[in-house]
């Protein structure tokens, strides 16, 4: 019996699932190695009931109806992996967690009574324990493949919580922060993207979220020394992984007058 | 018999700091007890009236675990105290563990009431005795902490 894979979606842009479909060279091999039992974006043959050997869950929990979906996924999955920023920490849409929810609803929808949403966009791990969290908005497709492979062969995925700077230096990119004075969140951001932004002469905006032991305070001080107003520093930490605790705390500190 | 007590006391590190006269005063309160294997010294819930020092053999402290097998907490050997809580001021706590001889054992037994009265009357002896008790209790506390750390347990 082939291991059974499920791909489940919550509140999201579908980019993580698209990333899985972007594994053009490996997609058919994945289909051969695994029984893709539930992946509604890819197939009309689906089985929401399970059980599953590996479940990839994309998106944040932002509607009441999603709560039982997540609990069921946990109960029916040997391994539950939260993929992407939304599933990790609530995602970009967690920006609304700082705002008045009712006000947001009325701003977007004239008749908010039709719409059922939770007051906060939550990570999956707030509801159920997850076996692994794959960072990234979107995750890197090679890392996604590595997660699937690692679970198939029975080892821990080679996903490191180091800073983007390591990947950046390994790639030989010139440091944009030092050489051009472009503010870069690479030092506090988890690697995995391949240091894309510095490679395109742009500062990292942390779409992979905080790395382990992120010294956000020292970097934020440095950005202020280089002339960024505190409000802008706060904004930079409050973006895609803004709801992740280290970034949330840093943006709160900088926001204060 | 009392000769045996004196010799035993002399052989123990525990009483080395006492003067000859002090050791004699203490020896007067002690007697030797020879226990067969599995003999019970203390049972959970009893108010102990004696303090023992192990001379030979081993004594096991154990805990009754409701619905499970009795758990061994510690084995005590030569020179170690059994029933130290009898030295606490009244009302003495009741024993929270069982003590039994794991094998045929010889112990030096003190009547706790007599011992406390002697310590009260002669603070110099009292100081040495209580320091020895404290040292033994302290060591046991440290060792218990190490056990709690579960150093051989599986790390993630």
């Amino acid at each position: 019996m082939k291991p059974r894979l499920a791909v489940i979606k919550l509140a999201s842009c579908d980019g993580c699932q698209v990333t899985l479909l972007d594994l053009e060279d490996e997609l058919l091999a994945i289909g051969e190695a695994l029984d893709v039992a539930h992946f509604t974006e890819a197939s009309s043959r689906f089985d929401p009931d399970g059980p599953f050997d590996l479940t990839l869950i994309e998106g944040s929990v932002s509607q009441p109806r999603q709560i039982p979906i997540v609990r069921h996924a946990r109960a029916m999955s040997k391994r539950l992996v939260a993929i992407g920023a939304c599933a990790n920490t609530g995602g970009l849409q967690a920006l609304r967690n700082w705002a008045n929810h009712e006000e947001y609803l009325s701003l977007v929808y004239a008749r908010p009574e039709y719409i059922e949403t939770l007051a906060e966009s939550k990570p999956v791990s707030e509801l159920v324990p997850v076996d692994f969290e794959l960072n990234g908005c979107p995750p890197d497709r090679h890392q996604l493949l590595e997660v699937i492979t690692a679970f198939l062969v029975g080892r821990r995925p080679n996903i490191r919580s180091e800073s983007v700077c390591l990947e950046c230096k390994r790639a030989g990119h010139v440091c944009v922060h030092v050489a051009y004075g472009i503010p870069c969140l690479g030092p506090v951001t988890q690697a995995g993207c391949g240091a894309l932004c510095p490679g395109k002469r742009r500062g990292c905006y942390s779409c992979f979220g905080p790395r382990e032991n992120a010294n956000t305070g020292s970097l934020a001080d440095d950005l202020e020394r280089k002339g960024l107003p505190p409000a802008e520093v706060a904004r930079r930490f409050r973006l895609i992984y803004g709801w992740a605790p280290p970034f949330r705390a840093e943006s709160a500190r900088r926001e204060k007058p | 018999m009392q000769d045996g007590v004196a010799a035993a006391m002399e052989s123990l590190d525990l009483f080395r700091q006492l003067t000859e006269a002090q050791r004699r005063s203490l020896a007067a309160l002690a007697r030797l007890e020879d226990l067969p294997q599995d003999a019970v010294l203390l049972r959970t819930g009893e108010a102990s009236a004696r303090l023992w020092v192990v001379l030979e053999g081993r004594v096991a402290l154990s805990l009754d675990v409701p619905g499970a097998v009795e758990a061994l907490l510690l084995t005590l050997g030569r020179g170690e105290l059994v029933g130290w809580s009898s030295m606490l001021p009244a009302p003495r706590p009741r024993a929270v563990a069982n003590a039994r001889a794991l094998e045929p054992a010889r112990l030096l037994a003190f009547d706790a009431g007599d011992l406390q009265r002697l310590c009260e009357a002669d603070h110099e002896i009292g100081w040495v005795v209580m320091r020895s008790v404290l040292a033994a209790v302290g060591r046991r506390l440290t060792e218990t902490r190490l056990q709690l750390l579960d150093v051989y347990g599986k790390r993630p």
Binding site: R156, C175, S218 | T75, V151
Partner: protein, 644 residues
């Protein structure tokens, strides 16, 4: 011989000559507003008329008021990227139908010519040579690239803002180690030949006698550079100073600023730490091990099955600086710092190691003595390619511990370890628990993915094996003395072969006391062996457990309770969890044993096992090379030091 010169306009001839001799020329060029090292087509790719202005955390290229070709200080890139590439495949593996094949990865050996190597950077190459080529194990890829590389060195006649090579004795002039050396003197280069290969290339160049005074101009330029270094470092006694001040408050101060981003280590031309990753296809049929630059600033670098030795940024910065400026000398006989200043420029928040060292020195406690480096002994090539071996027997010791007997003809000394691996899963160090010359025993506790997979092997299964590695128990020093063996948990496994050796040599080992602690009676290893040893009249075996039921007739309590009446002339061998070893050694010493007669077996995350990857460092030591068995007094200072 008169000095020779090459006209600037003839520099193209140097490129031609190098290409004619088969070299690919790499050197500095201006790209994306920075001077980087890359393939060069000819002199036109050199950064003519450019210089750099650097400060802590900043780097900017600027126009010079002349057209000098080498008028700039070193940039972010170093030659390390060519000799020790940031990613490299080490081993390829294939498992199919029960067969398992290991083979070294193919290597691209196109010889490189490094054009424009500064003194500091040439020194850095020689520092890395010691890591990868001069130890017992030789890295074949590095060795091949290094031996093939042609070095065109360039003197620095101007000091950079962050340079302190004069302090470290590596520059500004280049005096040896080059094939050719250029000194840029306006319209011409003074050329020196440093090797036969250099002479061969020089013979193809239109050299002319240098004008009188050029040699003096060179010396004056170097003196001027030396006098205007942007930074200085008082380099004497640094190892002892830093290791004597591991509790200095400055570490907390710098930790508040340090991002632990690892930039300093990756731009450093001598930092060599790497991690080894196992990569496989979906089926696990094809797998490989790759290495990638790593850093002591990452959490993985100091991690061993879940435990983190350097959890705080403070621990990591201190590890870096004490290693770079201190431990390096004990490990390789040279400082790890060449004074190039890269770590200052490329630190995003501008931390300056010269400033940190000065601050520590200003209020320091006395320096301590450091161990001397081992003698170089290159011997083993391809140390990363495992042999394939098969499991012949499996014995279950406890719920989660098994002993594998592996057919492998190898000589080992008790206390050493092997790297055991499975192609798609990974590799872990496992101590040798016994052997008879035709097979080895490995006792494995299933704690992680790799150990779990190894513990699940069955007779007939194949695995990869490398080694044996590391130091052994001092069995010869024990001859004629009472031996106290203290073991905790699976820590009995690395001692088993030593105990068997002592059991087999009654005249040499008249008295052996084994004190063994475990979690519960069910967790005791080698119960047959324990009975066998206990039956030997020279052996006294005492076993204690932390928890037991009423049917247990042995001792209950921590293993240190068994440490009494230690003979004053005894030797103690201790192995178990670090916490247990610490308490045991302290109890042994309290019982009168001198610390130099206590030996412990340390565990760190050995990844290469050959003193190349830097992950198992313990202060001045590599656990894989200088350990795992250490005389306790040699590591006592670091033993209880948080962050080591």
């Amino acid at each position: 011989m008169t000095a020779q010169a090459l006209a600037r306009d003839d520099l193209g001839a140097l490129f031609d000559a190098l290409r004619a001799e088969g070299y690919r020329v790499v050197g500095p060029t201006l790209r994306d507003d920075a001077i980087v090292l890359a393939d060069l087509r000819g002199p036109e790719d050199l950064p003519a008329g450019w210089t750099v202005r650097q400060g802590p955390g900043t780097y900017r290229v600027e126009r010079r008021d002349d057209e000098a070709l080498f008028g700039f200080a070193v940039g972010q890139h170093s030659w390390k990227g060519f000799l020790f590439p940031s990613r490299e495949r080490l081993v390829e593996m294939r498992r199919e139908d029960g067969a398992l094949e290991h083979r070294p990865a193919a290597r691209d050996a196109a010889p490189l010519a490094f054009l424009g190597v500064r003194g500091c950077d040439l020194a850095a190459i020689e520092v890395q040579d010691r890591t990868f080529m001069r130890g017992r194990h030789v890295d074949p890829g590095y060795d091949a690239r290094r031996r093939a590389a042609f070095v065109v060195a360039v003197d620095c006649l101007e000091a950079g803002d962050l340079c302190f090579c004069a302090s470290m004795g590596t520059g500004p002039g280049v005096e040896r180690g080059f094939d050719l050396r250029l000194t840029e003197l306006g319209p011409r280069f003074l050329v020196a030949v440093g090797s036969a290969r250099g002479a061969s290339v020089a013979a193809r160049l239109p050299l002319r006698a240098a004008p009188a005074g050029d040699e003096r101009r060179r010396r004056d330029g170097l003196d001027d550079a030396r006098a205007h270094m942007g930074r200085t470092m008082q380099a004497d006694d640094l190892p002892g100073l830093l290791f004597g001040n591991l509790d200095h408050p400055r570490w907390d101060d710098v930790a508040a600023r340090c991002l632990a981003c690892a930039n300093c280590t990756l731009v450093c031309p001598t930092c060599f730490c790497f991690s080894v990753e196992t990569v496989s296809d979906l089926s696990g049929t094809e797998a490989r091990r790759d290495r990638a630059w790593d850093s002591c600033f990452t959490v993985q670098h100091g991690q061993i099955h879940g435990a983190t030795f350097r959890p705080r940024i403070k621990d990591r910065y201190r590890q870096w600086l004490t290693h770079k400026l201190g431990a390096w000398v004990s490990q390789f006989g040279v400082s790890g710092c060449t004074g190039c200043g890269r770590c200052i420029a490329w630190c995003p928040v501008g931390i300056d190691l010269t400033e940190e060292v000065a601050a520590i020195r200003a209020t320091s406690r006395p320096a301590v003595a450091m161990p001397p480096p081992p003698a170089p002994a290159p011997a083993v090539r391809e140390p990363m390619v495992p042999a394939t071996a098969r499991v012949t027997a499996v014995r279950r010791e406890t719920d989660d511990v098994v002993t594998l007997r592996i057919a492998h003809e190898i000589a080992f000394r008790p206390g050493q370890f092997h790297m055991l691996g499975l192609p798609a899963i990974g590799e872990v160090p496992i101590s040798i628990a016994g052997g008879d010359g035709r097979s080895v025993d490995h006792t494995i506790r299933a704690v992680g993915a790799v150990s779990g997979a190894l513990a699940a092997l069955e007779p007939g299964h194949a695995l990869g094996i490398r080694g044996p590695f590391g130091s052994a128990w001092p069995l010869e020093a024990c001859v004629g003395r009472p031996v106290v063996v203290v073991a905790g948990g699976v820590g009995l496994a690395p001692l088993r072969a030593a105990l068997d050796t002592m059991a087999a040599r009654p005249l040499d080992y008249p008295s052996v006391r084994l004190l063994y602690g475990a979690r519960t009676p069910a967790d005791l290893l080698f119960t047959d062996d324990l009975q066998r040893w206990a039956a030997d009249p020279r052996f006294a075996v005492r076993v204690t457990v932390d928890h037991a039921g009423a049917d247990w007739r042995g001792d209950v309590g921590v293993v240190t309770r068994l440490i009494t009446d230690v003979p004053p002339d005894a030797v103690a061998l201790v192995c178990g969890p670090e916490m247990m070893m610490g308490f045991s050694v302290r109890a042994l010493c309290a019982a009168g044993l001198p610390a130099e007669r206590a030996y412990v077996s340390m565990e760190r995350n050995m990844a290469c096992a050959v003193a190349h990857c830097g992950r198992c460092q313990l202060g001045p030591y590599f656990v894989c090379r200088d350990g795992p068995v250490f005389r306790f007094d040699r590591i006592a200072r670091l033993f209880d030091q948080e962050g080591f």
